[in-house]
């Protein structure tokens, strides 16, 4: 049985819906971690049940709370519009229609202060669990249940070997590793899930590797 009982009894969360409130908080919080940089505006595209019943479930409040770093157990979720205003962050919600995605899917676009933007697509799959499915148009699968590294690197021979050597040298075991790329010899994304937490100095070493463009960690 590969599902923890605490994925079923839990999360301890702010109601009303594990998928529409708690899952939405986690989805948005993990998305902001992946985006990494501070942002001045965030846009939420809501698909399916998120769009249809989101308001009544507090999904809007939950998504906004999540990008602000508020957690699933925090009673400030319902105050997220005030907190966004205090921090000078603007936001917008609208409905989107996507093909072949989960009912509870959101497209979250962060506009950063440096003029760049990051777009994350993910869904809340029930019981507070989530799956990030796209980062800037690259397909990924990130559930953020284990410590997870998300890296972008050049699609060249030997890059993965260098990444796994750094992890091995630091006694970090890879439980699962997914790859994807836009095209051959272009930018590829690798998502190792690890059994151990990843220390900041390990992340620095990974980021300094040749041909590694970008590293972030969720744990």
């Amino acid at each position: 049985m590969n599902i923890s009982i605490f994925d079923v009894i839990g999360p301890i969360m702010i109601g009303p819906s594990s998928s529409h409130t708690a899952g939405a908080v986690k989805l948005a919080r993990v998305s902001a971690l992946i985006a990494g940089k501070p942002f001045k505006h965030v846009d939420f595209g809501l698909h399916g049940s998120f769009a249809k019943t989101g308001t009544g479930h507090g999904t809007h409040l939950a998504l906004l709370a999540g990008v602000l770093g508020i957690t699933e157990e925090d009673e400030r979720i319902k105050l997220s519009p005030d907190i966004a205003e205090e921090r000078g962050i603007t936001y917008a919600f609208h409905e989107v229609e996507l093909d072949d995605v989960h009912e509870n899917t959101a497209v979250i676009t962060f506009d950063h202060h440096d003029g760049t933007s990051t777009q994350i697509v993910g869904c809340s799959v029930g019981g507070g669990r989530i799956l990030i499915t796209k980062i800037n148009s690259v397909n990924v699968e990130v559930s953020a249940e284990q410590p997870t590294l998300i890296m972008q690197q050049l699609d060249k021979p030997g890059v993965i070997a260098r990444i796994s050597r750094v992890l091995a040298e630091n006694n970090i075991n890879i439980g699962l590793m997914r790859f994807s790329r836009v095209a051959k010899r272009d930018v590829a994304t690798s998502v190792p899930e690890t059994d151990q937490r990843i220390r900041p100095e390990v992340i620095d070493r990974l980021a300094a590797l040749d041909d590694v463009l970008w590293v972030t960690v969720i744990q």
């Binding site: 009894i9 301890i12 702010i14 819906s17 998928s19 249809k52 009673e75 009912e103 507070g128």
Partner: protein, 298 residues
């Protein structure tokens, strides 16, 4: 390791261990936690369950729309329940946790937030009825969680995917297993109780008024809590589900897939599109609800 109710029951019976030991061993192997750590975490979840099941018994909770504000205290104050004090207290506690959940208060999902009233009510009410100590309740909670994990793995616990049968129905199956455990029933009786509870609510749709987890959610948490207990009682009396629990779980998943999108948490069908529900929705700030004729996206 196990991957079905059948596996779980066979292991418990074969090794002459109670079900909760098998679930506990699996959790320890899966997460690397010690027995103490699992119980410590379980107790933290249990404590949140207790507080949500008690909080609204005397304090009505405020929420947008207020459709179920005060329902728990009303049930709790009712002195002449036809079903007796035990079931009435279970009902009041299921309403309490639902009310706390609807007010954006703190609950423990079991298996989801929308169904978070069933298990606390069943556990606490039955624990009190049978004079159980906390350790027994935690063991029963382990069994319930093990059952819920299997349904998560082999079917779904998402209302958007499977309707209310997947949320409150799963909670009822988990609760039924917990009640059989508390009453000292066999692993086999647990399996029968799980199957009967899920059979009793097969096809139950998710049709929240104004898309809010209030109505009929609070009443469904209550009726599924009672379903858990009567299913356990049937199994304890020796009733056989005939259809094995794993097949009933699979059938639940298939029925969920067959439900139109309008009846899967979209507030586009069922109770959510009655005339009164539409009026209420408009009164809540003019949010529009779709009609059953809207094209599905699947």
């Amino acid at each position: 390791m196990y991957s079905s109710i059948q596996d779980l029951i066979e292991q418990a019976t074969g090794r002459q261990l109670p079900l909760h030991r098998i679930v506990l061993e699996n959790e320890m192997a899966l997460t690397g936690k010690t027995e103490e750590q699992v119980y410590e975490l379980l107790e933290r979840h249990y404590d949140v369950m207790v507080s949500s099941a008690k909080k609204a018994l005397t304090q009505p909770q405020q929420m947008i729309g207020g459709l179920v504000t005060g329902v728990a205290s009303k049930q709790y104050a009712y002195e002449t329940p036809l079903v007796g004090k035990y079931l009435n207290s279970v009902m009041a506690m299921a309403l309490s946790a639902s009310e706390v959940n609807a007010s954006m208060g703190l609950v423990c999902a079991a298996p989801t937030g929308g169904a978070s009233g069933v298990l606390p009510a069943v556990l606490l009410g039955t624990g009190e009825k049978l004079g159980c100590i906390k350790q027994q309740l935690l063991d029963a909670l382990l069994v319930a969680a093990g059952v819920g994990a299997l349904i998560t793995k082999n079917a779904t616990v998402s209302g958007a995917e499977g309707g209310c049968q997947a949320e409150c129905g799963t909670a009822a199956a988990m609760g039924a297993a917990a009640v059989v455990t508390l009453a000292g029933g066999t692993p086999e009786a647990c399996a029968n109780a799980i199957a009967i509870a899920l059979m009793n609510c097969k096809g139950l749709v998710c049709d929240p008024v104004a898309g809010m987890v209030q109505l009929p959610c609070a009443f469904r948490n209550t009726s599924q809590a009672v379903n858990a207990i009567i299913s356990a009682d049937m199994a304890l009396a020796g009733q056989q589900s005939v259809i094995p629990a794993d097949e009933v779980i699979e059938a639940m998943f298939r029925v969920g897939k067959m439900l139109p999108e309008a009846l899967r948490e979209t507030a586009m069908g069922g109770i959510a599109v009655t005339k009164t529900a539409r009026d209420l929705t408009e009164g809540l700030g003019g949010r529009t609800i779709g009609t059953p004729g809207d094209p599905g996206k699947r």
